[in-house]
């Protein structure tokens, strides 16, 4: 049987505020455990939450970026459940009156077509702390530094039909939130976490199948793998005459296995009610207008600008503009290295390959745009050959030096472009290659091209790898072509 896949996403985006959503504690990542957990975050008796203006500003910016309705009045509710990393015994969140209403995000499909993914709503809430289950004498350790970090949870309609579409959407959303600066986008630190709702139905059927939810995926790759695996699992179950059970699943990216989280039925009864500690938040038109005025460039607009201002192809512009960090790298590189096409080639070639092989985000790229720009200048002015440039790039990446010119000197990578010096090398090398010269001169044009390569090896060797290959080529032809 043929199956349709239906996917909806819930995305938790950590907002890049300085402080928590309801307290003045720092949200900086990586602090010593519990040093950023104040009395409010710990739910000490008698404390009261005070809402953070920046969290609302960021939520409004997101709403504007996805062309959503923005609620003038939003209400916080309590979602009640017990877990040790949730000190209050409830999560303060929004349900009936979220800050951001229906909106949409347009994604580009593999065949170039656009597809609109509808956003159901987005609401503000607080993050929980972290539980560490390593052995503390049979106990669990709790770090509440993350407790109270502002999150915006974005909920899509079930509009995606494949893992590819879901990943395209996730990447696009990542590009939007990092471009408008409301999230650092650092997925390995949990700044963006995806819950994936998957169901399948026989092709042509209108009614949705029973869905499962796979929680807390923190990389695009894991998300793709988890969806493929869940679709396969559901097809197997249904083909064997079984039924899909609505459940929450966990995917372990390391073992590439998913498993059902055994949750009691009662656990889903959250008994929401409006939080008596917080008054309704009212956003006025001036607040929204101010956010609109200060909304940074969105990925789609940036892509168009990259094409017109730098003459990039649609494909290159798309890749370079989708994320804020990569776009910034590109613009910095061009600023220092001039040649946009060469900058694009290096960023999408060498640099992206290194990022991928080390599973790094562009935001954590060890080479700066200024460095790459300096490197490109040295390629353009003939100082570096392409192989020399690669060596300099490696040196920058590995932190061997921070300055391109001193790396070139230290490693002796300066290309020799002095024609007289190169001629001398050519003469010396050719003196021992009489046989090859005769062979070359008897060959036709097509063969000659091939045979020319046979001289390049010895020439590069004789010049210690520093001879300008283009000039060697010219000199050779001048001397051999008769």
């Amino acid at each position: 049987m043929q199956w349709d896949v239906v996917i909806g996403l819930e995305i938790h985006v950590q907002l890049a505020t300085q402080t928590k959503i309801f307290s003045g504690s720092s949200t900086a990542y990586g602090a010593e455990p519990n040093t950023q957990a104040s009395a409010v975050d710990l739910a000490m008796p008698g404390t009261l939450p005070v809402a953070n203006e920046a969290a609302f500003r960021y939520a409004v910016m997101l709403g504007l970026a996805i062309e959503a309705d923005i609620s003038r009045r939003s209400v916080f509710e309590r979602k009640n459940y017990f877990y040790p990393d949730l000190p209050k015994g409830y999560q303060t969140t929004q349900l009936a009156q979220p800050i951001v209403g229906p909106g949409h995000v347009d994604i580009e499909l593999a065949d170039g077509r656009q597809k609109r993914i509808r956003i159901h709503h987005a609401h503000l809430e607080e993050d929980a702390g972290k539980s560490l289950h390593e052995d503390f004498h049979g106990m669990s350790g709790i770090d509440l530094n993350r407790a109270g970090t502002p999150l915006i949870e974005i909920v899509t309609e079930p509009d995606m039909r494949s893992a590819d579409e879901a990943v395209a959407f996730a990447r696009k959303l990542h590009g939007i939130v990092t471009s408008i600066g409301i999230c650092d986008g650092n997925m390995s630190q949990g700044s963006m976490r995806f819950d994936v709702n998957v169901s399948i139905r026989p092709k042509g059927e209108d009614k949705l199948g029973t869905r499962t939810e796979t929680k807390n995926l923190n990389s695009f790759r894991f998300m793709e793998q988890a969806i493929h695996q869940e679709v396969e699992r559901q097809i197997d179950v249904l083909t064997d005459g079984g039924a899909i059970v609505q459940e929450t699943r966990l995917y372990d990216g390391d073992t590439q296995q998913s498993r059902s989280m055994r949750t009691k039925e009662e656990a889903n009864d959250y008994r929401y009610f409006p939080c008596p500690d917080l008054l309704p938040v009212v956003i006025d038109d001036a607040f929204i207008a101010h956010a609109r005025q200060h909304l940074p460039e969105l990925p789609d607009a940036r892509k168009a600008r990259f094409m017109t201002a730098y003459g990039l192809t649609d494909y290159d512009a798309g890749l370079l503009s989708s994320g804020a960090a990569m776009a910034q790298l590109f613009e910095d590189t061009v600023k220092h290295g001039k040649d946009p096409k060469l900058a694009a080639n290096w960023l999408l070639g060498e640099l992206s390959a290194r990022l991928n092989s080390e599973d790094r985000e562009p935001a954590n790229c060890p080479v700066t745009g200024a460095q790459l720009g300096a490197l490109i200048l040295r390629i353009s002015d003939g100082t570096l050959s392409s192989s020399g440039a690669k060596k300099v790039f490696e040196g920058l990446w590995d932190g061997e030096a921070t300055d391109v010119d001193s790396l070139i000197e230290a490693r002796g990578l300066r290309q020799v472009s002095d024609t007289a010096a190169l001629e001398q090398i050519v003469d010396t090398v050719l003196a021992d290659m009489g046989e090859q010269i005769a062979q070359y001169q008897q060959a036709d044009d097509k063969k000659r091209k091939k045979l020319l390569g046979g001289f390049m090896g010895p020439l590069m060797k004789a010049s210690g790898g520093q001879g300008n290959p283009k000039l060697f080529n010219e000199i050779l032809r001048r001397k051999l072509d008769r």
Binding site: N34, A39, M139, S140, I142, P280
Partner: protein
């Protein structure tokens, strides 16, 4: 509107409050009375009334996004039952 023993037992479980049979009987009576009052309120015509999220007719004041809390871990952990390496220790939880 009435409340059943099962309702009370379920709510008690969700709230992690232990109640014995005798207490359930007493609660059935008490909560039943409260729900009776709610029934009376339900009879009021609220067609033209907007639902309230809060009894005060006021809006939330927002706080500027500036760090105002300092590290007071030592003070908080002095009253915790168990800590180690800066972590609060709790009975082991496994998902």
């Amino acid at each position: 509107m009435t409340i059943s023993r099962q309702d009370i037992e379920k709510v008690a479980l969700l709230a992690r409050i232990r109640v014995d049979d005798q207490e359930v009987t007493a609660l059935e009576q008490d909560l039943g009375n409260i729900l009776g009052l709610v029934d009376q309120l339900q009879a009021a015509d609220t067609e033209a009334t907007e639902p309230m999220a809060h009894p005060l007719d006021a809006v939330q004041r927002l706080r500027p996004d500036v760090v105002s809390e300092s590290d007071q871990r030592a003070a908080f952990q002095a009253i915790a039952p168990a800590t180690e390496n800066g972590l609060y220790l709790v009975p082991r939880v496994i998902e």
